[in-house]
């Protein structure tokens, strides 16, 4: 179902996850839920896409994972942005803004 996130370019998904974690450290399910909420249902991640992206971000050193206890005293791995991740996020947001503006300009003229 709702495989939309796999239509997202890999880089865009990474950027969104980083943004989620910039707000506060979260575990995997939390990221998925928050993303769905903030996108008003447009982006619904399935487990595969989410955790592949998380593994990638982890391996690139942009986020750091830590096992902690949840509110329901269950064990879950919480992820937080690293310094490098923060820098990358800012860079990506800037770049995204540039691209969006350019596309908008092009679409306006035609």
């Amino acid at each position: 179902m709702a495989d939309k996130p796999s239509d997202l370019v890999q880089g865009t998904l990474d950027m969104l996850i980083l943004k989620m974690l910039a707000l506060e450290p979260m575990h995997g399910y939390g990221i998925a839920v928050r993303l769905e909420q903030m996108s008003q249902g447009v982006f619904r991640l399935n487990a595969g896409s989410l955790f592949v992206a998380v593994q990638r971000l982890q391996r690139d050193g942009l986020i750091r994972g830590e096992w902690k206890a949840t509110e329901n005293s269950r064990r879950a791995k919480y992820y937080a942005l690293t310094e490098q991740g923060r820098k990358r996020l800012n860079g990506e947001i800037r770049e995204w803004g540039r691209q969006v503006a350019a596309i908008a300009r092009i679409l306006e003229t035609s």
């Binding site: 179902m1 995997g28 399910y29 998925a32 399935n46 487990a47 595969g48 592949v52 391996r59």
Partner: protein
């Protein structure tokens, strides 16, 4: 930085598989649980919630797989798994594996062997330091375009040596046969007389003692010599005191000052075991008219070939003005030594071999690919099941590609063994004294570049030819395949067509190989069988050279040859004897410049021909035919105006139309004018594939020679006369070394040995190609019958006769075979054009070859189809219909 981290992450995954897996499992479980809890809050039961979550977010197992596959380490794991599986599969079918590996070993091995020769002769640089700076000087006539063949005049060389600025060193040398006496039987040793800086310029270092110095080159300096390692260990038994020891060369005492390593070789000089300084008299040094001295030099650092050429051009322009009589139109051609040596190596022959083995490799690969395709269809079920279980097409194709790569790699390894056998065989076929002229002889072996080449070819062929089965099998429709009742599928139509295309292509290539090989072998056989102008059967030749120091007078030379001849003449078994200054295929000859009286040459124009001085009965001993006039006889004695006999082609081309008998020729500068008294048939002097050329004969009595070839035609086997000839010579002079006593047929065989090797290789490859092609057809036909067994059963049940079935199968096979043969013939028509230069009296479109080879192939194809067709014919329809 992130790459390192990524690698670290991957490595952790590889080596801590359990822990990583457990963690991931826990995390995913937690994820799904939390999602389910959400759903339960909305009122679903736990079971329904879990199920809904699995549908929405993905199941645990699949997600685990997806995440695991995302890391780079999973690719490695997959490869490793595939490799192990491939190895197991290959072990399980030993028959297929052996056949495929052997086929590949032969195909790749042949290519590797030929490549190593190409590498040693044409790619690797010469074995001297900075060989790019070594150049060769030779005199060239600018106006008439002829070059002297690698030599220059002494005066020109020494003047240039003194005055040039482009060269660090310049060296003159000459090959020589040196008489060694004392310390054993008299022996004629091949060697060289060289400038003192010969070894230093080439950068060769001795293993004992020293090289020559400028002191050794002064006139009047004590005689010194340098031995080769082989000579030192042979004749002098590795004497540890060899340095300083005196040896006798040509009757004079020489002190040994150094020993060169066995690996040292100048290919232009051939095999050389002994070197002395170049003993030129002042008169010889000043001689500008005779062009005979080989020379080379080493450019100074930073000086280019163009700059050197400019300097020589200016220098020789200057010489032209100063010495118009000898140097008009002359200049030096300065060429790279590497290029010159490579040009002598027989490039065309080697390239032909390379192309042929390339084609054979393609045929071998096509065979193996067919084998793999056939095997793949029997495993179709296996792949269908795997596909149904979720294997991606990429994964399946990867598996098959790994299998074929593994197969090819094993074949590649085996090919190294085969290659070294092949190379050893080739080297054993090249006779001793020719080896010296071959660059890096004895050092052509398995080395890095050859291994790289083998690996490269193996991988390339493995990928290209493994692709087809991989592509094919990953495409099978799982549903359809699983429903098939037989374990083997009817195979996708595309797969069968691919195999037929492969086989047709194989046959076409094999036809091309066979036709080319047949043309080359035919050419070789013709060149060997064609009459060389004389009858070499039962002829024994003894060659020697009289030393200048002992035989100073012409009368001594004449007496020697007369005495030996008189002794040989009375030997029992000697049907006819004579002597000449040079014999055909003796390995060397002499030329002379001539002018036809009454037809003066333009200034600077030169005209020359090979010259042989012969005894009166030479022509009858050799059985050379007389065309006009007469042979020499006793009237052509010493002191009278010389008689001359010329060859037929020379008569035709030099004295076109006129009657040559009675015409006068002036020979050389010093010789007097002679009269032509006869014309004889053309003879082959140096190569079997020679075009007929000019030749001048003069009586030995009037032109005494220092070199002799005593020719003896025996009534029976000539080899039994060898000892007798030796004894006769030694009876006249005990210390005279004899360079060789060999049947003339052997001398010819030695020179044509290169051609013989190529011809043998061609035979081998064509047999191989045909064999592989036959196997290819057989394989395809057998498989075809197997696939159609069901259909055959039905047909027979419906009333078709066995003969009908056989005809059906045979016709299909024949169509395939003829298609391939036809394509091959057309390709060959184009390809053989490239062979034209190598063929002797055989046209590239020789009709006999172009008819017989395809016919042979058609028969072979028919035979290969026969067995499967026969099997098909004998099918019991009841069995076939029930066949699972």
């Amino acid at each position: 930085m992130s790459i390192l981290r990524s690698i670290a992450g991957g490595l952790r995954s590889l080596f801590r598989k359990e822990q990583v897996s457990k963690e991931l499992n826990e995390e995913l479980n937690g994820f799904l649980e939390m999602a389910a809890e959400e759903k339960m809050k909305q009122g679903m039961s736990r079971k329904d919630a879990l199920r809904a979550v699995r549908l929405e977010r993905g199941s645990l197992e699949v997600t685990m797989e997806v995440v695991r596959a995302a890391g780079w380490e999973s690719f490695l794991e997959t490869c490793w798994q595939d490799l192990r599986f491939a190895a197991r599969i290959l072990r399980k079918t030993p028959g297929f594996t052996t056949v495929a590996v052997l086929t590949l070993a032969v195909g790749i091995g042949a290519n590797a062997a030929i490549f190593s020769y190409i590498d040693a002769w044409f790619i690797k640089p010469l074995p001297y330091p900075q060989p790019g700076r070594l150049v060769i000087f030779e005199t060239q006539d600018k106006k008439h375009g002829w070059t002297s063949g690698g030599v220059t005049s002494a005066a020109d060389f020494f003047d240039f040596q003194k005055q040039n600025t482009s060269f660090e060193q310049t060296v003159a040398w000459g090959g020589a046969s040196l008489n060694l006496t004392g310390d054993g039987l008299p022996e004629l040793v091949d060697g060289g007389r060289v400038s003192w800086n010969f070894f230093d310029t080439l950068g060769a270092k001795p293993i004992l003692g020293r090289t020559f110095t400028a002191e050794d080159d002064r006139s009047g300096a004590p005689h010194v010599a340098i031995l080769s390692q082989g000579l030192w260990q042979g004749r002098y038994a590795g004497d540890p005191q060899i340095i300083g020891r005196n040896i006798a060369i040509g009757g004079e005492a020489y002190t040994v000052v150094g020993v060169m390593p066995g690996t040292f070789q100048l290919p232009l000089m051939g095999i050389a075991n002994l070197w002395t300084p170049l003993p030129l008299t002042d008169m010889e040094r000043a001689d500008r008219g005779n062009v005979w001295l080989p020379a080379f030099g080493r450019l100074k650092r930073g000086v280019t070939l163009e700059q050197a050429r400019a300097e020589t051009a200016t220098f020789f322009a200057h010489l032209e003005k100063e010495f118009p009589k000898t140097n008009t139109n002359l200049t030096w051609l300065v060429s790279s030594m590497t290029d010159r040596i490579r040009r002598e190596e027989g490039g065309p022959e080697v390239m032909i071999c390379f192309v042929v083995v390339g084609l054979v490799l393609l045929i071998a690969c096509a065979n193996v690919a067919n084998l793999m395709l056939a095997r793949a269809t029997t495993r179709a079920r296996e792949f269908a099941v795997r596909g149904a279980l979720g294997a991606t097409r990429r994964r399946l194709a990867g598996q098959l590609l790994t299998e074929s790569l593994l197969l090819f790699l094993v074949g590649g390894l085996a090919s190294l063994l085969f290659a070294s056998w092949g190379m050893r065989w080739i080297e054993s076929q090249i006779p001793g004294h020719i080896r010296g002229y071959i660059v890096n002889y004895g050092h052509v072996e398995l080395d890095f570049s050859m291994l790289m080449f083998t690996l490269g070819i193996t991988l390339l062929c493995g990928l290209v030819f493994g692709f087809a089965p991989a592509f094919e099998n990953s495409r099978l429709d799982a549903n359809h395949t699983l429903k098939e009742t037989s374990g083997q599928t009817s195979g996708s139509k595309r797969g069968a067509r691919l195999r037929r295309i492969f086989v047709a292509a194989e046959i076409a290539l094999a036809v091309v190989v066979l036709i080319s090989a047949t043309l080359l072998v035919k050419s070789f056989i013709i060149s060997v069988r064609s009459s060389p102008g004389y009858n070499p059967a039962n002829v024994l030749v003894a060659q020697l050279a009289l030393p200048k120091t002992k035989y100073t007078e012409d009368s001594q030379l004449r007496n020697f040859s007369d005495e030996v001849l008189s002794r040989i003449r009375v030997l029992p078994g000697a049907a006819s004897t004579s002597v000449a200054s040079h014999v055909p295929f003796g390995g060397f000859g002499q030329g002379v410049e001539f002018q036809v009286a009454g037809k003066p040459l333009q200034p600077g124009e030169r005209q020359g021909a090979p010259l042989t001085a012969v005894s009166a009965d030479y022509f009858s001993t050799m059985q050379i035919g007389l065309v006009k006039g007469r042979f020499f006889d006793s009237s052509d004695a010493y002191g009278i105006s010389p008689s001359i006999i010329i060859s037929q082609t020379m008569a035709r081309q030099v004295l076109s139309g006129e009657d040559p008998i009675g015409k006068k020729l002036r020979l050389g500068e010093q010789h007097s004018v002679g009269t032509i008294v006869g014309i004889v048939n053309d003879i082959k002097m140096y190569y079997l594939r020679e075009r007929p050329g000019w030749h001048i004969y003069v009586p030995l009595a009037q032109f005494p020679s220092r070199t002799f070839g005593f020719v003896l035609r025996s009534s029976g086997d000539p080899t039994i006369m060898a000892t007798a000839i030796r004894d006769a010579i030694w009876a006249v002079d005990r210390d005279q070394p004899i360079s060789s006593v060999e049947p003339l047929e052997n001398l010819i065989a030695v020179v044509s040995s290169g051609d013989r090797v190529v011809a043998d290789l061609m035979v081998f490859f064509s047999v191989l190609a045909m064999f592989l092609g036959a196997i290819g057809i057989y394989g395809v036909m057998a498989h075809l019958v197997l696939q159609r067994i069901h259909e055959i059963g039905i047909r027979m049940a419906l009333g078709a006769s066995p003969a009908h079935v056989m005809r059906m199968i045979l016709s299909q096979g024949l169509k395939l075979g003829l298609g391939g043969v036809g394509a091959g013939m057309i390709a060959a028509l184009g390809a053989t054009r490239l062979l034209a230069t190598q063929l002797y009296q055989v046209t590239p479109t020789d009709p006999l070859t172009f008819i017989s080879v395809p016919l042979l192939f058609a028969i072979v194809a028919l035979a290969a189809c026969y067995v499967p067709a026969w099997r098909g014919m004998r099918v019991d329809p009841m069995v076939a219909l029930r066949c699972e």
